[in-house]
């Protein structure tokens, strides 16, 4: 292990990156594009549900109920239907998501003390939005019913009717329930994984394809030094990306950063080291750039995007897939990121995740160096 030789490889790799403008642009532009998309444009938060109203009762009571919906910030009454066909058409064309139908005998039932029914038709294709919308509508109807009962009791000379039990819901760590706050920290893991898999997976395969590997072999550089040298170049790129994400996330998108920046940097280094080593391992396992690239995306980008809990919660996956996520390093890193950003916890909570990331990095690095040595020998 010689520091000078490692540095020489690193310098050569840096020159490669700087001269290949497109890789450099990809490496620096991609985080920006993804941050902008996720920060500004993409959100899972449901409000202003487009709603169509079909009032078959036409009484002050039915209008009162409809007013309750149009006054809520969760609903936006965009159209008034005159028949079920109108509802059909609008839902088929995805112009509306929710239809409120007040039946003909609504006010009669209500005044007679029978159970008055409101019909809600919801487009369930987007099940996530739909189930949140169902929750909103049912809560609204329930609280409206209580209000009516209270009024009725006051009229009959009884006291005002209060809600017997009130839920006091307090959301910890992300008070306003903004999806950006949990997506942006997780995005750091995805971006680092893309850099690692897309750039690193090609680096050794390229040396083989272009025939420069033989030249490298004739120099006194050793496999470990070669891996370390190549790693350090991409490592610098990765850390730059991480800092870009951190700064833009915190200062432009106001994502809360409650924990220690130092711990964040430290864990990013651990993760990045492992991810880059994995890229090198993929690259050393094949001599074709196309195959290396395919292996890289299938084994690192896809799991980081899908199986890490970045967007899709691991708890909702089938048990077998949940078991698979335990060997996905991004899973641990996404947990670390979210916990540091939003919960502000430290090593006392995250030691298990950090230990895994450390072991993963060490093992994959050893494998990568050994694989390269085998290939060379």
């Amino acid at each position: 292990m010689n520091f000078r030789r490692t540095r020489a490889v690193a310098r050569k790799e840096f020159l490669h990156i700087i001269r290949d403008a497109r890789s450099l642009i990809l490496a620096l532009l991609l985080p920006l594009v993804m941050l902008l998309l996720f920060g500004y444009a993409l959100s899972l938060d449901v409000d202003q549900i487009p709603t169509i109203v079909y009032d078959r009762d036409h009484t002050p009571q039915s209008r009162d109920l409809i007013r309750e919906f149009s006054g809520s910030r969760y609903f936006q009454v965009t159209a008034v239907a005159n028949s079920y066909d109108d509802i059909d058409r609008d839902i088929d064309r995805s112009r509306t998501l929710l239809a409120i139908v007040v039946p003909e005998n609504y006010s009669k039932d209500l005044l007679a003390g029978r159970e008055a029914q409101v019909q809600l038709i919801i487009d369930g294709s987007d099940s996530n939005t739909a189930s949140i919308a169902v929750g909103y509508t049912e809560a609204l109807v329930q609280s409206y019913a209580l209000q009516l009962r209270s009024e009725a009791q006051v009229q009959k000379g009884g006291g005002k009717l209060n809600n017997a039990v009130e839920p006091r819901i307090r959301v910890w760590y992300n008070n306003d329930l903004v999806s950006r706050n949990y997506i942006v920290p997780g995005l750091i893991a995805v971006i680092l994984m893309i850099i690692a898999s897309l750039l690193t997976s090609l680096t050794i395969a390229r040396e083989w394809e272009t025939g420069t590997m033989e030249q490298l072999l004739s120099t006194p550089v050793r496999p470990t030094e070669l891996v370390l040298g190549k790693l350090s170049a991409y490592f610098t790129l990765g850390i730059t990306d991480m800092v870009i994400c951190l700064v833009i996330g915190v200062f432009v998108f106001d994502v809360p950063m409650k924990g220690s920046v130092l711990l964040l940097l430290f864990s990013s280094c651990l993760f990045l080291f492992g991810a880059l080593s994995w890229g090198i391992l993929m690259s050393a396992s094949t001599r074709s750039q196309l195959v290396a690239y395919q292996l890289g995306t299938l084994t690192s980008f896809l799991p980081a995007f899908l199986l890490s809990g970045f967007i899709y919660s691991i708890h909702s996956m089938p048990v077998i897939i949940q078991a698979v996520t335990y060997i996905v390093p991004a899973r641990y890193f996404v947990t670390v990121l979210k916990f540091i950003f939003l919960k502000g916890v430290g090593v006392e909570v995250l030691w298990a995740e950090l230990t895994f990331l450390f072991l993963y990095a060490a093992i994959v690095f050893l494998f990568a160096s050994r694989k390269l040595r085998q290939k060379i020998a």
């Binding site: 991609l30 938060d45 369930g124 099940s127 017997a164 910890w172 090609l202 909702s316 916990f339």
Partner: protein, 385 residues
Amino acid sequence: MRERLKVIIRKELIQALREPRMRVMLILPPIIQLIVFGYAANLDVDMSLIAWMDRDATQESRELLSNFEGSGRFQIVATPQRDAEMQHLLDHGDVDAVVRVLPGFARDVERGRTTSVQVLVDGTNSNTASIVSSNAGQAIARYSNEVNLRRQRDKLVGRTMSTGGPLRPNIPRVDARTRVWFNADLRSRNYFVPGVVVNIITLITLMLTAMAIVREKEIGTMEQLMVTPIQSIELMLGKTLPFALVGLFDTALAVTVALVLFHIPFRGHVWVLLLGACVFLMTSLGAGLFISTVSRTQQQAMMSTFLFFQPFFLLSGFTFPIRNMPPAVQYLTYLNPVRYFLEIVRGVFLKGSGVSVLWPQLVALAIIGASVLTLSALRFHKKLD
């Protein structure tokens, strides 16, 4: 011209299918992607893990607990006694929420005062958190309603008894009857898997077209093609038509897996889907052609494909509803072909929509496809000269 075109299509097909590794690449990655996506891409919260912190320990608080358990949406995994334990559970992410019943709960319920139940939700994942809050709110509201009705009846009975009048529990009640269309069980898999079909066909056709042309450039066989009497339009068609076939084949494969493995409802007509796929292929093949004209090496082609594909994919409404985007971005998505194809595929799968509903999307795709193809063809032509 027919003859030459046939020859180049044959050459392209042989080249694509000759290598065993390439044959595997055409079939395996789409299936792996579909399966992983199908199982993992899931935003449903069926069962949330909660901690129950009962500081009251009375008949009433247990009644509330059985309301939570009875809803089938909560699993009580811990019963912390002290605040520190609760903090620990939330910090470690062991539970999605803690329900805290404070001392005096039963007393307040009995005396008819408004009392409250605290629900502390872990907001780290805002989507899960808002579903959990809404479920908890509903369970509490149900209990509250029961208590309320009981109270009101007692009062009415008391009053009618004292006045001696007839018993008339004239309480206004409103009930919501919710019906869910197209996806009655609200399974997010039904929404995502058709989307994955779109994702796979886009990526495969884009990548293969771009790579096939750049490879000829890289290994120098492009010059050989140029000295043959083949014309650029024939070369272009010959380079894209085989991949159109591959794209259609992969679509059929993906649809089959979606139906057989994931039991996604397919309510529309196959030919509407096929029509949509054919029109969409104009765009994706055209874009692949375009990438090939701006890339010199396969690596550049791969990276451009990736940079190009990501924003289109994310802004298509695949996971993140277009409705939630800022208005300016919503207008931009009208230029996004993936958006239209996604609407077609989901419409055919879930809503059983036909051409009468989907024609705006088809027309938009045709216009985008024609412009992209023309633009790439012009560039391609210039490059050859």
